[in-house]
Assembly symmetry: C2
Homo-oligomer: 202 residues x 2
């Protein structure tokens, strides 16, 4: 049933580029090379198609993240930066090599930005996030869990900005990017920020 995958690929691209309301089933149909009614047939409804598109890669992403966390723990007590790296790097690596994962990143940004999709976040992303927040909380025992959760949300928003707002950086920097240590910079930003927000420093 390769058609279903083709339709989900097209839906992913169109949803990512235009958001839920801006996307049309007709654009997806054209991109997938099928008729509109077939998109609807495989998706049940536009809203369910949206959730299916998010769900498709969510499981693989969660598995990769938790595996990276286990690997970090196997190598000794991970510091907050190592924990965040386990959360960020699998996603960033996929997005770097596969344009479909780049589109998926924009899709995730839409889900994360809109309270209307809170149930999708809750179903597909929050369980993994809880694991990482708990792990971070264990390394930051002086911080209330709510502060860690808040810092984690900031960090995720920075990661999504990293994946989707290169245009803004380019508009503000006026020079072209020099090298590939961007991910390290992002990680330092979030890890140091998280530690500062969670406790110590005043």
């Amino acid at each position: 049933m390769a058609t279903r995958e083709k339709i989900l690929d097209a839906a992913e691209t169109v949803f990512a580029a235009n958001g839920f309301d801006g996307a049309t089933l007709r654009d997806m149909a054209e991109l997938a090379g099928v008729r509109v009614s077939l998109v609807h047939h495989h998706g049940e409804s536009k809203e369910q198609l949206f959730e299916q598109t998010v769900a498709r890669r969510a499981k693989a992403l969660a598995v990769a993240r938790l595996a990276a966390l286990e690997a970090a723990k196997a190598a000794g007590e991970p510091d907050p930066e190592a924990i965040l790296a386990a959360f960020f790097r699998p996603f960033l690596a996929l997005a770097e090599t596969d344009p479909r994962w780049r589109a998926y990143a924009r899709l995730v940004a839409h889900v994360s930005a809109d309270p209307r999709w809170a149930h999708i976040s809750a179903a597909h992303f929050d369980p993994t996030a809880q694991v990482f927040i708990a792990e971070l909380s264990a390394r930051l025992p002086q911080a209330p869990r709510e502060a860690v959760a808040r810092g984690f949300v900031y960090a995720v928003s920075a990661m999504l900005a990293h994946l989707t707002s290169q245009w803004r950086v380019r508009a503000l920097a006026a020079e072209s990017a020099p090298a590939g240590d961007d991910v390290d910079r992002l990680l330092h930003f979030c890890a140091c920020g998280l530690c500062a927000a969670a406790g110590g420093r005043g």
Copy 2:
């Protein structure tokens, strides 16, 4: 001409809640207590109405931010956290007291997230952002300007998450927020993150 303000207020609310594509002129008309054609009459087109709504508060925001920066500089060499505070606090203070500014914050988040509105960012937000990036660069002389701009974009995305993603924090924290030092936490997060991303620490 109070009608125009009423229409812009309604447009602000509806655009903020639903995004550009999800918003309808009819919702705005109903909220403003006028007919649809009048909304169109004052806005010229949906897209121009969107830009007008963003533009309306942009000037006041820029003035308040630059004034705060001047005040910080008058009190002595401001560190990066003081510079970021001058950028964040005027907006956060307005959003805390005025629900229309809260709606405007969600509107700004939409503009910042979508490359389609790059020209609006460029016209209404980037000039002020450039001033602050230059000021930060002066205090972080070892960092390439592109790294500072990148960190600044991360910081802004965290600030917008602070303003628009309380629902996500609540879903992840499982406890209610304790006190009002949230803004301090956000500032520590961004300032420390910026310094870490820009230079020092490895």
